[in-house]
């Protein structure tokens, strides 16, 4: 319901935007034609229009910068766009989503990040900030579905993908900022492309690294074949081993690193960048030596060249091993205990994680948040007004005589507070009775609902195959699950609606969704109790995810330390969303001193209790 309230003012803008989108591009994959640039430009304008109230101008220009950069790479240089330098003054809320998280553990994304980092570091000194807040965008959909559901998800999810302006951001956007920014962002690929720019680049670098040994082998053959010394059996052995090692590298890279990104992180991933830089340097130095020692003097010893290529592949395998250990294995052993508390209603969980950086830990926590925490229901938060309003009523303070307003006001408020504190406060009584009453009401409605559902389920039964033939004289109307669901929904609808209203769950379950769930349960032979489990207890947030989650959920990571630093004891960071936040506290797991005690199995003997004698 809160969502509806937020959307209402932007519906108009949104409708225009949608029309624009629908007529302009059903096919968004066409990137290389000139019309595509217009599409992209309009799309980017559209993007901006959709995020008017929440982005500051600085971040818009940054975003544009990165989009410009990404477009350049993804188009292969078709346009002549130079990434413009970001605005000189910084805002405290930086939103980057060009860094993919789990996906591209392969090298090219690291290289890409390396380049970006070098470019960025000139223009901002990020380490000197105090309270930093950076954005994590956690998409809910894999790579392939992003394209297909783009058109539909615009109006539903856009409330969730906008960033909140919190107290940390100093700038707000005005109309002229908007128009200026939109003019600047003439051609840039849409926001979603940034998510995949990383893995694409990592794929490129990986491919380059894999093809290098083959290039080493082929170039002498192509260029000075006649003067090469023939090499017999040892070479063939080396060829085979080279082929197999390349195959292993290929398969393991595919298995480990090429995964669709699930989150975009605010800062680059230190280990990944390190490894990318390592690979790049490594391959570059091999090429250097190759160029100097082999290509220039036209080296004739082919066996040596093959050995050189094999050594490169060996070293690549070892680097991959290093990557595996650093990126995958190191954080598996639990070392810290994270306590996650939701600020609005205090729901809390404890999790064990290994050695991670803050941003990775944040993504890890969010993964588990969506499945473990009961869904945030804003309607359940506050005490009823009737209880709270009694506190401040009943006291009027009159000023007699002189003014000196400031003195009087503080004196007044203090007097009121003191008087209110001294007064006998019976609101706890009312709270108690109100809660008891509420419980009773919920239980009554629940009982009615359960009975209604049980009765409704007795109206239908599954048709066995042999029954249809065996009883021709009782022709029953045969229904498919959807019709059956609709048929039995009617008797339970009222009870269900009343129950949902009492437990304030009605925004989460529309009639359509209830019938769909009913159909699902009937198809799978579930009992009424199984059908009801979805409604009787508030489920995890994942259950209420709408299907079109490809735009991703926008979270803001607020931390006092740089987000690439490792977890350590006493660290506190929070993940903020529009109307609630998760506060995460880090404590190390206790060191366990495990001792040993051996018990001989034969030592288990028992006797009746003896007469004990006590002297008095």
């Amino acid at each position: 319901m809160m969502n509806c309230v937020r959307f209402s003012s932007i519906q108009r803008c949104d409708a225009n935007v949608q029309k624009l989108i629908e007529c302009l591009f059903p096919h968004r994959s066409v990137l290389s034609s000139p019309s595509a640039s217009k599409i992209d430009s309009l799309r980017s304008k559209v993007e901006l229009l959709k995020l008017p109230l929440t982005l500051s101008s600085k971040s818009i220009s940054e975003r544009k910068t990165r989009l410009g950069g990404a477009t350049e790479r993804s188009r292969g240089g078709a346009g002549a766009h130079k990434p413009r330098p970001p605005a000189p003054d910084m805002d405290n809320e930086s939103q980057y989503s060009g860094y993919s998280y789990k996906s591209s553990h392969s090298r090219s994304s690291r290289k890409h990040r390396d380049r970006r980092d070098r470019h960025r570091s000139k223009s901002r000194d990020s380490s000197s900030r105090g309270d930093k807040s950076v954005t994590i965008q956690a998409p809910g959909e894999p790579l392939l579905d992003a394209e297909s559901t783009r058109g539909d998800d615009r109006d539903d999810n856009w409330g969730e993908t906008t960033t909140v302006v919190t107290g940390t951001s100093e700038h707000s956007v005005s109309n002229e900022d908007l128009t200026r920014a939109s003019k600047e962002l003439e051609d840039s690929s849409p926001l979603e492309c940034r998510r995949f720019a990383g893995p694409v680049l990592s794929g490129v670098l990986g491919l380059f690294a894999l093809l290098t040994p083959l290039a080493f082998l082929l170039l002498p053959q192509l260029l000075w074949r006649d003067s090469l010394e023939p090499c017999g059996t040892p070479c063939e052995g080396l060829y085979v081993s080279l082929a197999f090692k390349l195959l292993v590298l290929l398969i393991s890279s595919w298995a480990l690193f090429l995964r669709p990104p699930r989150a975009t992180l605010p800062r680059f991933f230190v280990f990944r960048c390190l490894l990318m830089a390592l690979v790049f340097l490594f391959v570059a130095s091999y090429w250097l030596f190759y160029g100097v020692r082999v290509l220039e003097p036209r080296e004739r010893d082919y066996r040596g060249i093959v050995g050189y290529a094999v050594s490169l592949v060996d070293a690549l395998l070892f680097i991959q091993y290093l990557a595996l250990v650093l990126l995958e294995v190191r954080h598996l052993r639990p070392a810290f205990c994270l306590k996650v508390v939701r600020t609005t209603d205090g729901a809390s969980r404890f999790y064990n994680v290994g050695h991670l950086s803050i941003q990775r830990a944040a993504v890890w926590v969010l993964d588990h948040y969506y499945t473990d925490f009961p869904v945030y229901n804003p309607a359940l938060l506050n005490l009823p007004k009737s209880i709270l309003s009694k506190k401040m009523s009943g006291f009027k303070v009159y000023t007699l005589g002189e003014e000196s307003s400031t003195n009087n006001s503080t004196g007044q408020s203090r007097a009121m507070i003191a008087a209110a504190a001294r007064r006998r406060d019976n609101s706890h009584n009312e709270y108690y009775y109100e809660e008891a009453e509420m419980d009773r009401r919920v239980r009554k409605r629940k009982a009615r609902l359960v009975v209604a559902v049980e009765e409704a389920f007795t109206h239908i039964k599954r048709l066995q195959d042999d029954e249809a033939a065996a009883s021709p004289k009782h022709p029953r109307e045969v229904m498919d699950p959807r019709e059956a669901a609709q048929a039995i929904f009617a008797p339970m609808a009222r009870a269900m609606q009343k129950y949902l209203r009492t437990t304030r769950q009605q925004p989460y379950h529309s009639m359509e969704s209830i019938i769909a769930h009913l159909q699902f349960c009937i198809t799978h032979n579930m009992t009424p109790k199984a059908f009801l489990e979805r409604y009787l207890a508030p489920g995890p947030t994942m259950q209420y995810q709408r299907e079109n989650g490809s735009r991703g959920r926008q979270w803001t990571l607020v931390s006092e330390e740089p987000v690439t630093s490792a977890l350590r004891q006493g660290l506190v960071f929070s993940l903020r969303r529009l109307d609630f936040a998760l506060v995460v506290t880090v404590t190390p797991l206790p060191f366990l001193n495990l001792g040993e005690e051996f018990i001989d199995p034969k030592s288990h003997k028992f006797v009746m209790r003896l007469q004990s004698e006590t002297s008095v």
Partner: protein
């Protein structure tokens, strides 16, 4: 001294008053007890009925206040200062006997010889 569960117990008892003695900073009575509802009654050497879970005197230290007051080995303690001792745990019995603020404990004890004596005297009449 046999008892039927559920029926009141009747026994011939002797009153014994023991004055506690200061031994260091402990008050001692000079005897040991055994038995209790949480103990194993079949191991009691002094009871006639091996299902009797009462508190029995298992040792009397020589020259101690208990011996002086007339407590004998094998006595069954029925009451201590008014507290019942026929249906108590071993620890409860110990606590009732060793209260620090009491100097004197007045016991009601019973033994086989008492009953015999009473029966004999009744038969004589």
């Amino acid at each position: 001294m046999s008892f039927i569960p559920g029926q009141p117990v009747s026994a011939v008892v002797q009153r014994i008053e023991i004055h506690k003695l200061w031994d260091g900073d402990n008050l001692i009575l000079g005897f040991s007890i055994g038995g209790g509802i949480d103990q194993d009654p079949s191991q009691n050497p002094f009871s006639e009925d091996k299902a009797d879970k009462g508190i029995y005197v298992t040792r009397v230290s020589k020259g101690g206040p208990a011996e002086v007051a007339g407590l004998r080995l094998g006595d069954k303690i029925m009451q201590v200062n008014g507290w019942d001792m026929t249906m108590v745990t071993h620890d409860q019995a110990r606590k009732k006997l060793t209260k620090k603020n009491e100097d004197v404990v007045r016991l009601l004890v019973t033994r086989r010889s008492l009953e015999d004596a009473v029966r004999q005297s009744m038969m004589q009449h």
